[in-house]
Symmetry: C2
Subunit: 749 residues, 2 copies
């Protein structure tokens, strides 16, 4: 495979500091707003006294729930400002707006809120079982999802061995360099919001609702985005609505920019899971049944729990063909900070558990972990856990490549006394939203060729740092046969660009790329017709390449001349491409269905060195290979994988945003530990082009799968190094040191 | 006819001051730029010494022609900054940029330019004949146009009477409240320009050329526009290029805002004409031949002289069926400030002459002026001067209505001693660009229905104060059956909206309106199909009215529900409407052709009271009726006519921007006299809906025709009052007092 690639157009602006992020924006008469928050996990708000704050210099106003112009609730049910009861510590209660941020912060400290503390629940299982404290409805059940295939009882009965293991994953957060920030400008009887976002049209629709405006009067413009990692969605609506409330009440532009502490306190987190796996197998390693019971902590509000739980339940049994499967995952409301989609949503949690489990099973059976996987893995034509027939399954190739490039070898102790071993893991991952989504999976994209042959693309697939805009530009340039430098992507502005859906579910290249291809093809065909009319060549003979149109090997005109010809003769050189993903469906009765229109596959190998003194796990080699079908930009695909892997290293080893009695203790990067470049030295990202995916571009998504393999591969390596199984993420120094102690005890015994 | 109408959405923002004009915009680190101008009508630039200016506080740079990044010439051939020779007093030579405008102005005074004065020519006829001073090429001929029908010599031979008369018209200027201003912001490797403009895509293309950028990197955003009157086009390119030059050289945003004096000094003007008419007629009033020789002053640069001369030549013979016509109009280069299209371009000049001439002929023949017009006027099926067959000719109805509403009566002297009389005039006017335009007359417009049923329109037809956006919104609302309040027009931004062509040639409603209708119909049909699929009704039975969809009298769903249905099922609710005007053509050999795809007709009556002491002409009654086919917004149509008439009153009576030896003497509104509300008390605007025009909307343009009838109607009234013919515009106090003197002398004689 050619490992070719190209530079991204956004890089120069970002490197030189010319790129404008939302917090760089400034408008005449702009106010600055800050949030006053409840410090209590659950409390009734008795009164808000803003008198003293309002007397402070520069203060323009203090606003509470009653000032929110529209519905004081985001689609996922969190109020923009707590009205009566706050269900989570950090919930916004009031917004203070002033001429400067410092003035707003000073005044915010003087807003006096009286609370009546209410009883709380923090443990999700307790929330579901012991209903003393019920946040909403009757039972604190935020959502649940069930998958049922075959007869698990029969499957377990037919097994030679049955294992039951419990795995837990922690709460982490997005941690983009850029925090959540929005600038709201009142204009034309509506509101324009500048905000980094991964789903601009969702923000727009949510804002229309929270601002009480028709959708044609709400405009979301995306400046440069400083990272998403699955965020820049739900939290942005909160920030934007608060800024918009001030803007609409005062008639002045207003900026709200959350500090890192604010992002941590009030921002959404990855769902923590507790997963109980039960697996049965024959002595020779054939898995006969798998049963999964999981409980996730939704926190105080529902947000995107449904989509997360759905994906977790669908993928929980791993990439294996198992005749009998029963999965039941529930999410519970608690008084913790609320959970939402984080890059990979749902996958990293269950993949950690299921791929740890497979290794445990291999160990119990005395089988090679790779051989056990091969024995049970899905193949072309396999029936997955949800009953769907799988095609273009490249898992066998992934495992073969892994075996070749990453021999497991034997555990050893280094001369420095470190425990060294290797572990592996593999995965399947559903493409895009899947059947959980209410809306059709549609991406609209426009392409317009200017009269001088330069080209614009219009899309709302967001460039959040992953290079998606460069990929779309390349797809377009290839169809039109022009250099990449002739193509630019217009800034995302919901007033103008078509709705391309969310930059989520790793769908940017699949959905956005296919849409831009359709649009570019339509433009090309229109230009070919015009050129045919002008030159007498047959339209179907005309080829677009190297910046010109040719027919039967003869150059007809340059691409620029063709564009000018169209402009002069009134031939349209713009077109809309509408990519509609294949249908998915779910039968709730049978708990089976076509959950995702396609799956992608990958595998990883991790080599760890464990320092017995500090408990530090150093991942000295981390090979992550993902089959992504056609590779549009090789270096960028590597970057996407490496970035996801880096994020997963934090998930595996250090990151945790744990509340104590509902109050977060980790409030900045001094205690919330992100991996640095020093931690990623061993990462080897390897995009594979094994099976062209079943879409015109032939691509798979790669944004999220890379986040899911590291934890189980490391866990399996740690087990092979120490003989001790870690089942609770993250593998902190303390936990590893306990494991080392245990290993030494067992060694002695 | 129903005189219904509606309020414009832009009115509230404009009335309350919330609307943001270009000069209201402000960007972080924005520079302010001012122009250093040549005071000489023609001079070689020997050197520009900026050393002292550069030492002034806050000065960021001084830029000359060599700093213009691209082609230092606008399409109409004026350099953005004079490089070698300046051909007109007021030409920009350098640009000074500083932190504040005051700093830039102070520094500009210190830029030392050395000139070598060159010989000049100011009289256009002299420029064409005596070629001592030649500005360009061989002969100072900027352009010319000829129309030839039949045999004028034979026509004159067959006439009982032949008159020859000479008429002259003066130089005026656009005089919008808002001057020319642009803010250029360097971003994304290109330039974004905020500027009021009537042809945003022309500005964009011109800027791409002058800035040396591909068109996909140049973005023109239109803030609120403070009036056009045919301007905000050529001058804006000059201003924008200068601001962009600073922006691209410094990497900082830059504003250039011309003061009123600057707009007058350097801004384009209406072409002054000298027209020699010769007309032959039989004793009973049948016109047998007409010959017109005209010379216009193009000034120092060509600009839109061709389009102006073309229209003048085509319309010069008036709305009459004359067997033998020969028209020859030339435009000459001189060292005067350059001429360009001004609202009505070409028509007001020739209509003043031809309609004065008809009255002179009636007087000579002793016939009633209305009767003479009736005898010769074009009718259904007539052949016009350019040889095209005319259809849907409503001139007979216009004259009938004028006769009914405006009896000519007899001249009289008022008790205060004022001379009072009435005069009339009528016209034909070609729609849109006509065959002079190089490009096809195409208007693209998009309509998008949001998921909540609110609607956006995307067009580059500019709202310059004439109410065109309200008209487009109404057309769209009517097709979709939703209230007007549900429809908004997105701000004009060339990066996104389709090219709708110029807001010129009175084509806003015809071209833009028909395009929006096509787009809205396409959206409606798509929604009807989706609703049909959902409900089982036949798509062709579904009617969109009153905010809902019905079939056979039964309501199916609300419009909002239909929009949501489409959003959920991935049915597109946006569409592009492409209005392509019928073809026009011109045979240069035969000097005949289909000049315009349609003509509109109108008539006017003016009653004047002339104060013999002051020479002031008070227009006490001024009935202007224009057949505009279907009337979308009655009050706005009245406003359009009244506005054009007010502008024409200034043209007729007071406005003149006359240079002395190439240097303008009228540099502000203290000496350049615009009509005020007090001068328009007698105006009665009467839009007629006589003949539905031949386009799906059935509309005619009305923006410009209203500027052309006032001068001849007043001239004819003055003649009837005094018995003295005024053939030189404007009718200043001085000229009228001379006429009164002459009248009294003749009275005594």
């Amino acid at each position: 495979m050619e490992k070719t690639g190209f530079c991204r157009a956004d890089v120069l602006e970002k490197l030189t500091g010319a790129a404008k992020y939302a917090d760089d924006l400034c408008f005449p008469r702009m106010l600055h707003a800050v949030t006053v928050r409840s410090p209590h996990p659950r409390a009734r708000i008795l009164s808000v006294d803003a008198a003293e704050a309002l007397r402070m210099p520069g203060v323009a106003g203090v606003y509470t729930a009653k000032d929110v112009p529209g519905v004081n609730q985001q689609p996922g049910d969190k109020p923009m400002l707590a009205a009566d009861v706050s269900n989570s510590a950090g919930d916004g209660v009031a917004v203070v707006a002033a001429e400067t941020r410092a003035q707003a912060e000073a005044a915010a400290k003087l807003v006096k809120v009286k609370y009546d503390l209410l009883p709380t629940v923090f443990d999700p299982e307790k929330a579901l079982e012991d209903k003393t404290v019920v946040l909403y409805g009757e039972d604190n059940l935020a959502c649940e999802h069930i998958v049922r295939k075959g007869d698990v009882d029969a499957g377990f009965a037919g097994a030679d061995i049955v294992l039951e293991r419990t795995y837990t994953t922690q709460r982490i957060q997005h941690s983009a360099i850029e925090g959540d920030v929005a600038v709201a400008v009142p204009e034309h009887g509506g509101i324009t919001v500048y905000a980094p976002c991964k789903f601009p049209f969702n923000i727009k629709k949510s804002l229309a609702r929270t601002c009480g405006l028709p959708q044609n009067c709400v405009r979301v413009i995306q400046p440069a985005v400083g990272g998403s990692f699955g965020g820049k969605d739900i939290d942005i609506v909160v920030v934007a609505t608060r800024a918009a409330t001030v803007a609409l009440r005062t008639g002045r532009p207003c900026k709200m920019a959350w500090t890192r502490e604010e992002c941590m306190l009030e921002g959404t987190k990855r769902h923590p899971f507790r997963l109980v796996y039960k697996v049965g197998a024959t002595r020779d390693g054939k898995i006969t049944a798998m049963q999964i019971d999981g409980v996730a902590d939704a926190g105080a509000y529902r947000s995107r729990s449904l989509a997360t739980i759905w994906r977790a339940a669908v993928e929980a049994a791993g990439p294996y063909e198992i005749e009998n499967v029963r999965t039941h995952i529930r999410a519970a409301f608690t008084n913790n900070v609320y959970s939402d989609a984080v890059r990979g949503f749902g996958s990293p949690q269950v993949d950690f558990a299921s791929e740890s489990l497979i290794d445990e099973l291999a160990c119990e059976l005395g089988l090679d972990p790779l051989a056990l996987r091969r024995k049970n893995m899905v193949r072309e034509g396999s029936t997955g856990a949800t009953g769907q027939t799988l095609t273009r399954v490249s898992l066998p190739q992934c495992l073969e490549r892994l075996e070749r490039e990453f021999p497991l070898g034997k555990p050893e102790v280094t001369p420095e006394g470190k425990y060294r071993a290797r572990g592996i893991a593999c995965l399947h991952r559903g493409e895009s939203y899947g059947a959980a989504a209410r809306d059709a999976d549609v991406a609209g994209t426009d392409v317009r060729v200017q009269a001088d042959g330069s080209v614009n693309i219009y899309t709302s697939i967001s460039e959040v740092g992953q290079g998606t805009h460069a990929v779309m530009a390349k797809v377009c340039a290839d169809v039109l046969g022009v250099p990449l430098s002739r193509v630019t992507i217009c800034p995302v502005d919901t007033a103008y660009v078509p709705d391309s859906g969310a930059t989520a579910g790793s769908r940017g290249t699949i959905s956005g790329g296919n849409a831009v291809r359709l649009a570019a093809e339509a433009v090309r065909d229109g230009m070919a017709n015009a050129a045919a009319k002008e030159t007498g060549a047959a339209a179907e003979d005309i080829v677009f390449a190297d910046g010109k149109l040719s027919a039967n090997g003869e150059a007809l005109m340059t691409f620029g001349q063709a564009a000018e010809l169209c402009a002069l003769t009134g031939v349209r050189t713009d077109a809309h491409g509408q990519w509609v993903a294949p249908r998915t469906s779910w039968d709730f009765e049978r708990a089976q269905g076509k959950t995702y229109y396609a799956f992608s596959y990958g595998a990883a190998g991790a080599e760890v060195e464990i320092d017995p003194v500090t408990g530090k796990i150093e991942v000295t080699d981390l090979l992550c290979l993902h089959d992504i079908g056609k590779i549009v930009n090789y270096p960028e695909a590597c970057g996407q994988i490496a970035g996801g892997v880096a994020m997963a290293l934090g998930y595996t080893l250090t990151e945790q945003a744990e509340p104590e009695n509902g109050v977060l203790k980790t409030r900045n990067f001094n205690t919330y530990l992100l991996p640095t470049m020093m931690d990623t030295k061993g990462v080897r990202a390897l995009p594979l082009a094994e099976e062209q995916a079943e879409n015109p571009l032939g691509v798979h998504g790669v944004g999220e799968a890379s986040t899911a393999l590291v934890a189980p591969a490391v866990a399996n390596a740690v087990y092979r190094a120490l003989g001790v199984r870690l089942r609770e993420l993250p593998f902190t120094l303390e936990k590893v040191r306990v494991a080392v102690e245990q290993a030494r005890k067992e060694e002695k015994a």
